[in-house]
Every structure is written in C-alpha cells, then in structure tokens.
C-alpha cells in the first residue's frame, strides 16, 4: 500500500508536458534512429525512467516483449522463415519504445493530465476527448471481460468452431452490450463533469498544478540531446 502511494507521489511530481515531450522524442528515435542499437539503448533508458518512477514491473514487461520480438526477428531472418511476417515484429519493435512514455502519461492523475493538456494550444473538445479516451481504455477492457464471461455462461463461446460458424451473431452479442455499457459510463461521466462545472465558460483552475521543476527541465534536455544524437548519427 505504501509502495503504491510512493509510486503515485513520484508520478505526480513529473510534469505532464515533460512526459509528452519524451513521447515525441521516443517517436523520433523509433523511426529515425540510424542504427538498431541506438533504439535498443533508448528503450533501455526508458525502462530506467519507468523504474525510477516506480513502474519497474511494467517496464520489465515492455522490455521482455521488445527483446523477444528482436530475437524472433533475427531467428526468422537467419532461418529464412516467412511466418509470422517480419512486418509484425518490426511493427511491435517500433511501437514498444513509444508505448513506454505513453504508459507513464496515462498513469498521471487525470486532473494533472487535464491541467497539462490545457496548457497546450488545443481546442477544449479535443483535449477532453483525448483525456476521456485515455481514461476509458481500462474501463472498456474490464467491461469486455464481463461481457465475455456472460457470453461463456450463456454458451455462446462453447467452441471456436461455433464462433467461426456464426461470426455476425457473435459480433452482435459482443457489440450490443459493449455499446450499451459504454453509453451508460459516458452519460455518468458527462453528468459528473457537468456537476463539477465543466460547461462554465470561466477560466478553470484544477486541484493539480502542472508546474515545471528543474528535474523536468533536466529530463527534457536529456531526452532532446539523446534524440538528436541518435537521429543524426
């Protein structure tokens, strides 16, 4: 419990815009790195950042996926295997370093995320939608697990053959409850936001302040230097 609190405290200290900047740097390194090793080093550094912020376990998961994909790709290349396609591995290898800072971004409290995104020159509607989408993902996953359980109890998932034989029916059984549940959550969220005064046109002040600290500056400068070095070299 105290570990969770310490983790929360650490992620609260980091500026959201710094995390966003690291995400952009990760994108640049992922696509523009001159050598494979630069990307691997950058991913290791991101793992270090995740560990410092208290997400070592998740970071280890990301690293495992990243290294397995690299290894599998090398095996495929050496043995001349065409399945699974190398496209799959290169796609995952490019995506993992980007997902690591995005994961950290999502872990920031939603109030702080809102405060940080409000500082960007983006329309309120877009900011709000992006925040809701980032927050909604875990809820949708949980809802999907419930729907899957309900389908299994009713015997709709008895065998893969049954699913393949009636794909449209299976789709309907998944889509309809998912949409109903999502609409209910959306309405509840909207009511909660309205009650808290989101529609009031005055300038909003959040509970969280997204201030830039010296540590954030160091983090951003480090990310920028590494990105420029790896992208140019």
């Amino acid at each position: 419990m105290s570990g969770e609190k310490a983790k929360e405290k650490r992620i609260r200290r980091v500026n959201v815009l710094a995390l966003l900047f690291i995400t952009v740097c990760a994108c640049a390194v992922s696509y523009l790195a001159g050598h494979m090793w630069f990307q691997i080093i950058f991913t290791c550094l991101l793992f270090g950042l995740m560990a410092v912020l208290g997400f070592a376990k998740t970071g280890l998961g990301f690293m495992a996926v990243y290294l397995i994909c690299h290894l599998w790709l090398q095996i495929n290349l050496n043995l001349g295997l065409r399945f699974p396609s190398p496209m799959t591995f290169s796609f995952i290898i490019e995506l993992v370093p980007i997902l690591m800072p995005v994961y950290l971004l999502v872990q920031a409290p939603s109030g702080k995320l809102t405060a940080g995104l409000r500082q960007l020159p983006l329309p309120t509607r877009v900011t709000l939608t992006v925040i809701v989408i980032l927050r909604f993902m875990p809820s949708v996953m949980a809802e999907f697990a419930d729907v899957k359980d309900a389908m299994r109890i009713r015997g709709f998932l008895r065998s893969p053959f049954q699913v393949l034989r009636h794909p449209l029916n299976t789709m309907e059984y998944v889509i309809v409850p998912m949409v109903f549940r999502s609409l209910i959550i959306a309405d509840e969220l909207a009511s909660s936001c309205i009650v808290r005064g989101i529609e009031n046109p005055c300038k909003k002040q959040g509970y969280y302040l997204n201030q830039m600290h010296p540590g954030d500056g160091v983090l951003m400068a480090g990310a920028l230097i590494i990105t420029v070095l790896f992208a140019v070299l």
Binding site: T23, V24, A26, C27, S30, Y31, L32, M36, L73, N76, L77, R82, F83, P84, S85, P86, M87, T88, F89, S90, F91, I92, I93, E94, L95, I98, V102, L122, P123, R125, V126, L128, T129, V130, V132, I133, F136, M137, V140, M141, F144, L168, M171, E172, I175, V176, M178, V179, F180, S182, L183, I185, A186, D187, L189, A190, C193, I194, I198, E199
Partner: protein
C-alpha cells in the same frame, strides 16, 4: 377554447406589453411567464442542437475507444499476412467499427462529429509517432463533414453509409501516406527488418499501380457499406427498440 384564449392573451401581452387584461390577470401573467420560459428553453435547445456539448463529447470518446480497441486488435492480427494487412485491414476495421459510428451519429445528430472524430484520431496517431497524419485526417474529416451537409443527415442511413465509406477510403489511403512520404527511409528500415521480396513487391504494386490501389479502395468501400448495413440492422433491432436512439 378558454385555455386557447388565455394563451393568445399571454402572447398578446408579451408582444404588446402596454395592453392590460382585467379578467384572469393573474392567470395571464403566469401564462406569460410560462410562455417566455418556453421560448427561452426553445432558443437554448436550438443553440445546444448546433453546439457539441460535454455529453456529446463523452459519447464520441466512448465510441472512439471501442473503435480504437477493435483497430488495435485487427491491425496486429492481419500483420502476419501481408495481403490482408495491405488490402483488407482498413476495410475490416470499417466493417467492425461501423456500428460504433452509427450509434454516435444517430444519438447526437449534429454537424461536427466527423471533425471531432478526425482531429482526435489524428492527435492519437500523432502521439504514437505519425505526426504528419494529423493534418491528413483533419482533411479527411472535413471531406466527410461535407458529405453530411443538410438537415438530419446524421440519422439518414444512406448519408451515413456514404460518409463512412469516405472515411474508410481516407483510412485506406492513410495507411499508404507514411510510405509515400518517406519511401527511402521506409525501404532502408524495411530491409533492416528483414522484409521479404514478396512483401516489398506487393507494397510497390499497391502504391505505384493505380489498379491495385483502386482494388484496395473497392474492398474498403464494399466492407464499409456492409458494415453500415449490419450496423443499421443492429440499431433497429436493439437500440431504437430500447429507446436509446430515435
């Protein structure tokens, strides 16, 4: 008849404030207040009909999450099969996600849905590295909005099918935009990643031969239309019956 007379008096009173009625004065003043409140509410409703509210944004976000989850699943599933990934993936996503779009469109029935959808989708892609796709998807969203000009078009199955197909075409061409934009660096990266000659040829065929591109677009449009047909059926059978949608 009496009620109608009182109602007319109230309207008269509102339009001619100097005129006084001696009979039913209290009732008339109450009705006047009711009439003014009704007109104000109607005006507010008209305004909210044009604007996208917080509730609408939440609905769009909820449906977009479902769309992104489906896209996130179908993309990697088709990746091991290059033909499916290059030619069918976008169409498959359009087929599976049509219901989510139709629920949003029928529920809100407001212009600007596609614009919000496109900007947010582009912003999320920009967040995952494809920054140059943000203006592209904003452009596609504007075209989709243009296909929806008119009143109550978001509740018309035909117009929704057309706009969803246009969005599908945008998605299909959007897959090729990063490769067109940086072909040399893509080839370099793909060679390092061990892409086979067969996959390379397939990509070059698709991007350079208009017939291959037309074929891929046709597959996408057909799947988008089928998705809308299936989605409209679900809407009628479940959501309209339950009273969630009109």
């Amino acid at each position: 008849m009496g009620d109608r007379a009182i109602y007319c008096s109230a309207v008269m009173q509102q339009s001619h404030p100097g005129v006084y009625f001696f009979k039913h004065e209290l009732v008339v003043s109450n009705l006047m207040r009711f009439e003014i409140e009704r007109r104000t509410t109607m005006n507010n409703q008209d305004q909210t009909k044009k604007k996208i509210t917080v509730r609408d944004i939440m609905t769009i976000a909820a449906m977009m999450v479902l769309t992104l989850v489906v896209s996130g699943v179908t993309g990697p599933l088709t990746l091991p099969f290059p033909f499916l990934y290059l030619y069918v993936c976008a169409g498959l996503q359009m087929f599976l996600c049509a219901t989510f779009y139709l629920v949003t469109a029928n529920r809100l029935n407001k212009h600007g849905i596609f614009l919000v959808w496109g900007v947010v989708y582009g912003a999320l892609l920009a967040l995952s590295g494809y920054i140059f796709l943000l203006p592209y998807f904003v452009g596609v969203a504007v075209i989709c909005e243009l296909t929806m000009t008119g009143k109550n078009t978001y509740r018309s199955p035909l117009r929704n099918t057309i706009s969803w197909s246009v969005w599908g075409l945008g998605m299909m061409i959007g897959n090729a935009v990063p490769i067109w934009a940086a072909w040399d660096s893509y080839v370099e990266q793909a060679s390092a990643s061990g892409f086979s000659q067969e996959v390379f040829d397939m990509q070059i065929d698709m991007l350079s031969s208009p017939w291959h591109m037309i074929g891929a677009c046709a597959i996408t449009v057909v799947l988008s239309v089928l998705g809308c047909v299936f989605g409209n059926r679900i809407l009628r059978r479940h959501f309209q019956k339950a009273g969630v949608l009109q």
